[in-house]
Each structure stands twice: as structure tokens, then as C-alpha cells.
Symmetry: D2
Subunit: 441 residues, 4 copies
């Protein structure tokens, strides 16, 4: 029983005729001015009688703005709805003259940009949360050209991080009994392995698959993030094996392969749930299917080939003996174009360099590869590099067709995480170490 | 599918054995120290691998503290988990030397007490929200004796107000189909007219009654606030009429009387939902029962008699002519003791003074009576004063047995609210005006 | 919490090893014999310990039979599982010698074919109802070639009619929130206007459409019958208008057009719910959308052209004056082939004859046209004949492209029904009467 | 979305004014005649337009009858709504002259009492099933004084058995989250150990207890039968142990004790679900709590003391040697009155005779004791006799305060059942055998 729009239509009509509103009527003329007047009215409203109505009008007003109007609005948030300078200055002086918890707290209150409160007030509207996420998405668009809006975005992130706290998220299984309304969003948002159509989706929701998503109660039909899992016998090393193999989940499955994880809400960019999602899904599966012995991913290596080309052009690939350099020259020359699978003669060299890339290529103390960073930070172990794991054009051009398994092992995940975060240490199997060592020979 | 405790038992065991934890082991010795170490570890944790576990441990640790330990903990939040002074000072200098949106935003970030972030981190635990509300309830207990903890409470309020934003609340009807788990809380929390037992509750949930509550998705079995409504023929003026009258809701009911509104969560003290609740319930009822013509309350006047006694002792009651003073002397003398209903000979005088009390007795520009303040601020109109509306001992001693109807009229609620908030103007019926005028004769 | 298959796997293993089973072991050799032994065991089982297990095995056994085996099984039901002759003869004699309620009741009990009890026993299995419907579907297939099986089918109908009593059916709205599992069945079963794909389905579930189905609690994912409704402004006369028009249901819609009604379960052939469904949906829509003034169908006239051809070949179309015969000769000649829309010059004549067909062509006292029979029996009124209402090849070849509106008018539906059922009287508009009269001129 | 009463109010008004109804208007004068006219109209109605309305009116009409009117109505069902004699006679002749499946099926159809079809027609009304159960309950009341109504009751049983087929029942767990509407029925119907009040109920639904019930979809708020289970450590032998012991179900529980099973619907008397319920609950618990090793009952022995007294008065208790007769004389004399617990000096003798009673006292080949019959027929094993298992007055007067454990052991339940049903063989423990043997010494 959420508050319906019809109710607000009545109330708004009522408000309009009340004649005593908080709203500055001159504003009505154009939307850019109107939305500013609405925001001021929202912040000024001491009582709650009209806050929901004003909030709804503000969001509707924003929806009617064109791109230019939206940028103007964000600048208004930046320039006018920060802290109030006089109040801030006063609090600042009070704190300076007597720095104790009370004055510090008063300073914090005075320093908080008023746009944060504005976001909270706008959220009282029915469907407010959804519209605020759209507003953030628009802000991200504007931010590219106007980096000075960053502080406004920081406030969105601050508020959204609080509202989308893990404690408020609900994990739901997504399957063929899920409402079509949600399923069509899975089709739309799948980022790793595109869903072709409803038949393809159906295949991914069959008995040997699992799909789980996080949902927020204020957006019941909108997954925030979802993960797709295949139940396998053994550690699958290729997409084909995953997508077309079939296994009786009650009998044969001993391994759960997380093969796709997709964020759905552009408005939540930078607010991360993936780590929580993977861990809770591991838990759910362990309870549901006691026969599972291993939880692993089948992951891309998006930065490998780019790195390899740079290594090659910088002359750092002459690393072997016994004529290996010769074999390797192919990489620099024309015999392996961008979208063709490398020949078997390159296999050893490429796998060895891939191991080096994952273990040694860094940004600061952490791996250069973003997917590696994500899973290793979560406490996973780099387990295996799979030749021709993804022979699609995208797979070839990003990672020379290879894929990686990261293993989540409940007994070591915390220790791995700590060692990684604090020292950048990468948990990895002997096989990967051997490959990288061979590369260094 | 919320994350179960069993999962965390495992993870915690795992964490303990990991040997590399963020947790300062020396702390384990006693709980007071342990919880501080846990809080520091939570704030220090860069990654998320252990945050849920640490959060759960922190909340469990708090639950084991005795009252003294809790006060110590709150002082720790006050003294140690405010803003970090060096960072704050630096941000402050930067802002002073160049006050623009960027430095202002940085200052706001540096000024935010770290205990706010701690609350967000603790909330990642399963059942975290519930435990944080308990923590706030304990803080309110401690605050009485230690007003210096106020800044800590302000941070709880700040965070809880954000999490319990109206946009996240769900309205549910409560009836005899509601789970017993929720119903027993209605029995426990009803604040205005005590529910005697399950039979009494059942009566209040029959066909001519309605009960609605706000719920938060993170506390699905816990009403936050609920309101009880009786469907009546005409404006009921007494509790008896309300609780024992019977009306066929499909045929006769033309008036919905809101006769009780109860907050349920001590941990949410100061975060108000009543206004939103009443308005949404008005809307729900208007849709469900098109025959309803009027929405009103039957409300106590908790401050009347206390005010009257003070007026009397200050000699301000000699207000009438025609021998009224004589009649009125009874109030100051022994003929109307604290818990006996006043005689009919006092009726006129008491009703007149009650009207005066409601219209004229003020704190600042607003009425002295807290219930009047609440409904008038919401936009209601003071409609009628009812002699012997509540002849219970509590009713006699608070309001000389009278009760008031406030009417919520969709067409005027916004205008009433604005006039009240901005100017303290009280919407009221002619009958009440006449009574107060008579008092002034 | 329905009983799972896993449970029965265990129990069956257990039963098999019990060594004391009711089941005749010799039967195991081949399925045809096995299923008979299982049926006998089911009927013989005094106690319930194994009835669920035996029921499951019987249904599984049936599922393994090929077409020949199934026919044999149905013959077994016919020949062996009717009434027991000696018991029936005894009951018959008893009744003959003393015909009173007791002996009549005993006779009824003895006369009931034992296959009815077998169906009840098989239904105790998990998913039993679903499998019994499949069995009936197989029986209908066999019946075509073996009319002597009719008494077996009569018993299926008798039992299914009792189980699928209207009192046990649940009406559910089907929309874009419905589980995909159910929606794919709507795509599969739509009989009148084929659903092309998921996008087409989505269109049919938008805001200006409604779809409702009857479900039985034992088959929660299986619609039994569903009806599609379009909300329109005015009485729509063509499929195009219906499928591609758009209307704001909150504002404009004054008419609900029932444009498709589809049975889903072949196993329920002959057990009719359409009448109940239409009436309940009328009721639901009237409550949901108070602005609706009219409930009507847009229906095909499946038998018109066939009848017309016969009339023509029998020389009964020479009905007009003023040269109409001439115009009409086209029907008998080559100028209007089977799958081409008739020219405008035939319009008047065809519409007049269509009115005659609907009002005058009879089988017994009822209309020849099956769709007309259905709606008129339900109490609808024949309202309007629409030229080119369905210009699809099927529409042309069945009804010369015309469609009909039948109107369900709450105030007259019972009287219409009674007059129709008892006297064959057809409620119809003046316009249709005029058309038919013109035909007779 | 079941069909609402309001709908029918309209339709009935409509029907009444239609003037062409099937209903014989003369009947309106008095209810006894009216209901007969309604029943005839229901059976006569060829079409469905008014069947739901007529069904609702018939049931409402029955509800208004007094006891005498109801008996008259049942006699009407007996005398007038059996098979139609002419049709039956014709079918009978046809069968006699040519006894084959077709004529047998026609005979069965003609022999079926028309009151069966009447029940099916009445069930189309909203809430029809509930009202038909009430009608049956009334019939059971009338049957006591009028045994000639038995054939009518047989038809109710026949139809209800079909509708309440195990395949249509749903098992639901009942706990403190169950709607109060259902819980109050648990309080009302508990037959074995009375529930004192809501607090008592709450205790029975705590973490170490389970309660499960069968529900029928047409009666969603009405349990048909429910069973209460306590999770224990070891085989509990007394009610006190059960009701007041506490066990951590996750850690300690190794035994589930079924201590109460209650039928809720008088209208379903004679249609048994207990066997199915116990077996499914065993299955549910085995899945939920893998630590459970044993499933047993703690059951009364309702017929023991009555049997013992008869044995004593018939002089059959002089069964011992070594002075046992002397000890036993107490039973026949005044030293053990009806509602006092027997002294310890009687313990051995009473337990031995109780074992004899359970193993040897028979009706036909089955045990005399009805509770023993129920569990042994289900395949349970007679495990242990518990001295002072139920020291309540009822327990003393029925069974000298003793209770019995029957054990359901998945591995032997089918074999036990078969041996019991076919040969009356009672599965029992050595301990019970030894007791009975001692009795025979």
C-alpha cells in the first residue's frame, strides 16, 4: 500500500488553490526557475503537511528538464545548496575558540551541504528513490564535461551509500517463476554474456543454473546487481562448457561457477555490492546443495592483451631462452591479428605471460587487472588460466581468448583478503606460480 | 533470504583463526575494551571481507555490556569517534583560505563525526538495524544523567532519520489475519487506551474498526507506529461510544474517528511519522469506504487541568460576571478532588476554560497542549469539546474528563497547516470560538 | 509444502524391499501388465500406508506406456474396472424386491464403476491431478478410433467435473508481474488471436488491457482458461482497432471488449468454465474501473460462410428484389474466392445474410453458430455485425471478414439466458433485426 | 479474488425482478418449502446463468432453518432426491437385457442419487464448501435420532471424500507468525491437551515445538486437522516432560514426539487425514532437522481402565502366582477410586495388564483400543508403556495414568502396516512383550 499518484494529484490541486503555499508562485513561469523555487520551499518547510507533495513536484519538475536545464540544476545544487556560509562561519569560529565534542558536532551540522537534506526530503515522495537514482545517472552524464560538479556527486554517493546499506538489501533468487517485469531487466542488464532473447534467458534459469540478485525494498521490481551461476562437475574452463554443458544438479554437481556478475543501476555507480552478493550466494548454495565442494568464477582478463602489446613494444618480452624469443615475435608482427585466435604455437608463451600479468603487473601494490583486483580483494585465490576459455571476438581482443578461475574457499577467504588489502599479496595456485616462473626463465 | 546467524558463526570462527585479522587481539580481555577495538577495526577495514562479521561482533559485544559499560561506550563514541582533529583542522584552514564549493565539501566530509560511519558499518550485520535501535534506546536512558552525550544522540537521530525516511516506510493494515507475532506488539505498545488481552484486541480489529501501521522493511515484524480508527455514524464524543458502539461499516459509517496513535520504538524517539501516517490512512479509508464524509480524532487534552490549577492559583479565573466566580470557586477548594468527575454545576465553566486553554494558552506562538500542537500542525481543525468524553481516572485528572475532536478536512488541511506553522493560527469551529468567547465574557 | 518426489523415491525403495507388498510381483515384467497389477493393488489396499506410493507408481507406469499400451490400459478400465457384476446383480435384485431409499443407495454404490474410485486413489499422488489430466488427454486421442471407450471417458468427466467445480477455482489477474512460467503458457494456449512472441504478449498486458484466468489450487502454474479484454472508447468493431488502438484506461475507457477466450487444458475438454469466467471478470472490471458503461465481445462467426455456400448451392439466396439477385450471383461464381476479401458491392448482401444466419439458422431451437450459442446461452445480446472486422485469411474464409459484438448487460443477462435456454429466443438489437428483415425483403 | 457477496446481492435482486426465473414463486412463503423449490430449480437449470445465485440462495435458506426444518430438508433429500425411479428402472432393464459396459455405465448414471449433483451445484456458491460442511454437521446431529437418513449421509461422505482428496490438501506449518484467525482455531479445536489461552498457545509454538496442519484451498483459514510435536532428547514418557521440558532444537533434539492430533471439522467426520498428516510431517521434520533419529508418539490408552474393570468383574484377573492375586485385589475393592492415582504397589500389575490389553484385547482381529488401532494401522510399533505418563484426572480414569509411545520407523512402517491390516499382527518392542508375558505368568 504505497501512496498512489492519484492521491497526490488531488493534494497538488488542493495545494495550488490553497493560496498560502510555501511555493514562490512567480517561479511557475519556467521549469528551471520552478525547480529552484520548489527546492527552496522544501528546505524551508518547517512542517510536514506539504513535504510529500513538494517532493513529488520537484522530481516531476526535474524529469521535464532538458540536458541544459539539468546542468543548471546541478550547478544550483553546487552553488546555492552547500552549507550556509554565515552559519558555517559561526560554527567554525565557535569550534576554533573551544574545540570540544559539542562545538565539533555543531560544526559538522553546519558544514553539511543542504543538498543532502534536499535529497532526503525528495525521497519522501512516492517512487522518490527511483527518481533520485535517475537524477544521479543524469549527474554522472553531466560530470564528464563539468568536473567541478564533483562535490554534488559526492553528496549523492554519501546519501545513497547510507540508504543502500547492505543491511537493507534483500537477496532474491531469480528463476522462471520470477515476474516477467523483473526478468526483462535481467535481459537488459546482463553485461558479461549478453542474453539473446527470452529462450536464452530460460536456458540460463534451468535446473543446473542459479541466478541471484540484490533488491532494495523501495525498488521491488529492480535488481541492483545479479550474479549467474552454473552448477558443474569439476572446474569449468570455458564459456562453451558452461553455457552448453548439462549436469543433474542433484547428483553430479560438485562445483558452482560464478560466470557473470552485472550491475543494473547506473545511478548506483561507485556503490559496490558485488562482494556481499558473492559471499551470500556462496552461503545460500552451500545450504541448498550440500554436494558442492568448490565455489569459483570463470572470469575474463580484460587488460591482458593491451598490457602485452605495451610490453612487447617496450621490448620487455625477450624473456626466454631456447629460441623462445623467436616464437614470440609473432605477437609483434602480423601473424596474430586483433580478432583471430592465436595459434597453438603461441599457447605456452601467452599463458606464461598471462600468469606474469596477473601476478606482477601492478598499479600501486594491487593488480593492474580490474577483475583480478575485485576477486582478490574479496579473498579469492587465483587458481587456473584457461587457454581458449573465451574464443569470442571480444575474448580474443581482450585476453587472447583466455579466461581465469578464481576460487572462493571459505577457510581462507578472510586471510587472503587481509593479506591482499594490507600487503597486496595475491593468493594463487602452484600451477599459476609455475607458469609465471616459467615466464621468467 | 536474509543472511542467517549460522553463517556468521562459521565466518567468525574462521576470522578468529585467520590470525591476520584487523582486530586488535589484546582487546579480547574485557568487553569494554573489546568493543572499542572492534569499532576501530570496523572503521579501519579498507575492504569489505570482514565488515559484516566485525559488525555482528560489535553489536553482540554491546549487548553483553552492563549499564556502566554502555555509558563508557557512549563516552568513547563522544570522545574518540568524533571528527579526526588534524584532518578537520586542515580542512578548516583550506576552507578559510579559499571558501568555495570544493573546500566546503571537503570540510563537511572532515567534520562528520566518525561515529556516523560506524553506525552505517554496524548496520551491515544481520539484524543490525534492530540492534542499533536498541543501542539508541540505551543511549536515551544514559542521556538523562549525562547531557554531555547529546552530540552522540544527534548522530543517531541524523542517521536514523535518513534510514527511516518516509519513502522507505510501508503502510500495512493490521487485522485479525495479521501474524500473532505482530499483534502481540500491538497489545504491548498501545499507549492511549490499553489493550487488556487478546479478546480486547480482537474487538478492536472487527469489521467496524481499522488499524494501520508503518513498517520498515528491515524490521518486518515490528510496527513503528500504529493508529486505531473506529467507523462511526456521526462525530463520536466519548470513548465509551467509540469502544462499545457498533456500526455496519458498509451501510452506516460516515465518519472515521482516529482514537489512538502509538509509537512503538523507543529507539526512534524524536523521529516523527504520525503526520504521514494519519494522512495516508485518511487516503486509504477514503478509497475503501466511499461513504465516509468526515475524518476526525477523539483526543485527550493532557495539559488542561494542570494549566487550570495554575490559572486558579494565580487568580486568573475570576473572569465571569453574574456570579460565575462563585460557581468557579469550587475548583480551588475541596469540592472537586483529583480523581472524581466534576459535578454538572462546573460543566459550563470547565468547557469554557478548556476552549480558552486550547485557543489561548501558548508556548511561543504555538499551543501549550502537545496533542493540540500535533494535530493543528498537521492541518486539522479544532472542532468540538466533549464533556465527559473520558471519565476514567486518568481522563479526570488530566482534562477534567473532557475530550476533543480534531477534524482533518482534505480541502483545508494544507492551508490550515501553513497558517499554523507560519503564524500560529488555529483553525477552529464556531462552537469552540463561542465557548472561548463566553469564557472571556 | 507439497510432498516431494524425493520422499516417494525413498518410500518406493522401502516398499519394494518390504517383501509383503500388495503388489503382485509377477507383474513387473512388462509395463502393460504392471499397471494393471498396480491398479488392482490400489483398489485392494484397505489401508492407506502405501496408497500414495502405489498411486505415484501407477501414474509413472502410465507415462511410460506407448499409444498402444495406453489403449490397452483404457480397455482394461472399460472391461475390468466397471462395477463388479455379482455385487451389482445382488444390489439390483435387492432394489427390485424392495425399492426404497436404502436399496436405491446400495444400488448406486454397487453400480459405480470402480475406475472412478481408481481415479480418486491415483489423485493422492503428488502431482496426481496434473497426470490425470494428461491421461484424459490421451483418452480423448484414443476415443476417436474407439468409440466404445466412451463410458470410460464419461467417468473421467464425472470425476473432473466434481474436482474442478467452480467453487474450487480461483480467478487471477495475469499481467507483466505474473511469473514467466505462467506467461509462457498464455503464449502457448492463446487460441483466437495467436501471440507471436514475448513482445506481443507484453503489448497485450499493458495498461489498457486485462487478462484474467481461472486456476485450480492443485495446478498453481497452469491456467485452465483465460480471457483477454481491451479497454476501449466505444464499441470496437475490428481486430485492428482493438489490437492497435490505445486508450488511457483511467480517463477514456467506457467499454470493455472481451476479444479472446482460450481453454488451456485438453484434459478438461467438455468441462466448461467460460460462462463463469466472463461473469466474474465483468464483476471485477466493474469494481476496478467505475467508468465502464458497457461489457461486450468482439467475436468471430465461424460457421457463416459455410452456411452461406450451402444456402447458395441450394438456391435459397434468391431473396431480394430490385436486382439484388444479380449482385448476389457473385457469391456462387468465381468473383469472390476463398481467401480474398469480398468487394464493397457485396457488403449489403453479406451483412444482411449474416444477420439472417445468426437469427434464423438453427440446430433444434438454438443457433447453428457455436460462438453465438455460447454467448447467447450466457445471456448476452446480439448487438452489431461489423464489416471487415477481421480481414485475416481465416476471417475471410470463415465469416467473409465480419465480426459480431455480443453485449453483456447486467440488467438483462438472466432474463436473456432464461428466454434463450427455454425457448431459444435470441436477444438482439434493432439494427441486427433490421438487417435480417432487409434480408427477408 | 473470490466472488464477493455484494455481487450476488445485485444478481439476486436482478434475478428476482427478471420475472422469468426457474424458481417456483409460490415457494417463497415459507423457508421449508422455499428450499425445496430452490433445490428443484438448481437441478432443473440447464444453463449456468443463475446456478451460482440459486446455490447461494439455497445455502442461505438452509442456514435460516431451525432443527425441525433441517430434518425435513434431509428427509426431502432422502425421499425426493434419490435416483429418478422411471429412469432407473429403464436403465436397469436395459442392463439386464444386455449387460455390457455401456449399459452398466448408463445404469450407474441413472442410479446416482440426484442429491449428489445437488451438492456439486451448491458448491458453486461463494463459500459453498464451508456451508456444505455445516450442513453435514447438522445432518450428523439429525442422524442420531433418524438412522434412516444414513443414505443421505453416505452421499455427503462420497462427495466430500472426493473433494477433500489428499491430492488437494496443503500442509502448512503453524507458528507464531500464523494469522491470529487461524491460531484461535487451534485453541478452539485442540482435543487432546486443552490450550488454556494465548500464552499457553505461544508456549506450544516455540522453537522446540512444531505444529502442522492440513488445509483445503477452499477453506484457507480453517485447519482440517493438526498435529503438535515436541522436539526432545530421548523418548519422552510423560506429558509433564513434554510440555515443560526445554531443548535447544538445533543442538540436542534427537526425537520428535507427536503428542496431540486433533480433527477440526465436524462436517468431515469419517473422512480421515491423520495417517497422511503424520507421514508428511515425519518427512518435513527429517528434512528440516537432520539430527532427528526417532519419530514417536506419546499417546493415551483411552479404553484400558474400562476393559480392566470388566476383566476384574468377570474374574479374569486372577492370573498370577506368588501372591500377586492379593496385590491385585485392590483394583476390585475400594482402595483405588476413579480419580486417584493408583499406588506404587499396583504399578507392576497395572503395567502388565496394560501390555496385555494392547496386545491381546481385540475386536475382530484388530486391537480394542482405538488409538492403538489408528497408529498400528499406520505402520507404527508399540514401543513403551509409561507409568504416570498422564496423572491428570482424565488420564487416571481412562488409563490409570499410563501413556504409550508408538514409534514410526521409516524402514518398517510399510511392512508393519501390511502385517497389521492383513493379519492383525501388532509390531511391538521386546519390553512390551516381556510385560505382557509377565502378565501371563
Amino acid at each position: 500500500m504505497r501512496l498512489g499518484r492519484a492521491f497526490f494529484r488531488d493534494i497538488i490541486a488542493n495545494l495550488a488553490s490553497a493560496g498560502q503555499g510555501l511555493l514562490d508562485r512567480r517561479a511557475g513561469a519556467d521549469t528551471e526557475e520552478e525547480i529552484r523555487a520548489l527546492c527552496r520551499a522544501l528546505l524551508r518547510s518547517k512542517g510536514e503537511a506539504s513535504v510529500v507533495t513538494l517532493a513529488r513536484r520537484t522530481l516531476d519538475s526535474f524529469a521535464r528538464l532538458d540536458d541544459g536545464g539539468r546542468e543548471e540544476f546541478f550547478e544550483f545544487l553546487l552553488g546555492e545548496l552547500g552549507a550556509e556560509p554565515p552559519a558555517l562561519d559561526a560554527a567554525l569560529d565557535a569550534y576554533r575558540s573551544s574545540p570540544e565534542p559539542g562545538t565539533a558536532a555543531a560544526l559538522a551540522a553546519a558544514a553539511e551541504p543542504r543538498r543532502q537534506e534536499l535529497l532526503r526530503l525528495m525521497n519522501t515522495a512516492p517512487d522518490g528513490t527511483r527518481d533520485i537514482l535517475s537524477m544521479r545517472a543524469a549527474l554522472l552524464g553531466a560530470l564528464a564535461g563539468r568536473p567541478e560538479l564533483r562535490p554534488v556527486d559526492d553528496d549523492f554517493v554519501h546519501i545513497l551509500r547510507s540508504w543502500f546499506n547492505r543491511g537493507f538489501l534483500e537477496l532474491h533468487r531469480i528463476d522462471w517463476r520470477t515476474p516477467a517485469l523483473v526478468l526483462e531487466k535481467i535481459i537488459e542488464y546482463e553485461a558479461v554474456h549478453q542474453v539473446l532473447d527470452w529462450e536464452d534467458l530460460r536456458r540460463r534459469l534451468q535446473a543446473d543454473r542459479r541466478c541471484f540478485g540484490f533488491f532494495h525494498p523501495a525498488l521491488p521490481d529492480e535488481p541492483l546487481i545479479f550474479v549467474e551461476v552454473a552448477l558443474c562437475k569439476g572446474l569449468a574452463g570455458s564459456v562453451t562448457e558452461l553455457l552448453f554443458g548439462e549436469v543433474d544438479p542433484d547428483v553430479d554437481a560438485d562445483t558452482a561457477i560464478f560466470y557473470s556478475i552485472s550491475n543494473c543501476q547506473r545511478g548506483l555507480t561507485g556503490i559496490s555490492f558485488g562482494n556481499f552478493l558473492i559471499k551470500q550466494v556462496v552461503h545460500e548454495l552451500a545450504v541448498e546443495i550440500p554436494g558442492l565442494r568448490r565455489f569459483a568464477t570463470l572470469s575474463p582478463i580484460p587488460g591482458f592483451r593491451k598490457w602485452l602489446m605495451r610490453e612487447a613494444s617496450d621490448g620487455r618480452l625477450v624473456n626466454g631462452r631456447n629460441g623462445r624469443e623467436a616464437t614470440f615475435e609473432g605477437i609483434e608482427t602480423a601473424d596474430w591479428p586483433a580478432d583471430t585466435a592465436p595459434g597453438e604455437h603461441l599457447k605456452d608463451a601467452l599463458m606464461r605471460h598471462c600468469a606474469r600479468y596477473l601476478l606482477e603487473a601492478k598499479r600501486g601494490i594491487y593488480p593492474l587487472d580490474p577483475v583480478a583486483r575485485f576477486h582478490l580483494r574479496n579473498g579469492a585465490r587465483l587458481e587456473r588460466i584457461n587457454w581458449m576459455g573465451d574464443p569470442s571476438p571480444a575474448g580474443i581482443s581482450q585476453s587472447a581468448g583466455m579466461m581465469v578461475n578464481y576460487v572462493y574457499d571459505e577457510g581462507t577467504v578472510v586471510a587472503n583478503h587481509e593479506a591482499f588489502v594490507n600487503e597486496g599479496r595475491i593468493a594463487h595456485s602452484r600451477a599459476v606460480a609455475a607458469l609465471a616462473g616459467a615466464a621468467a626463465d
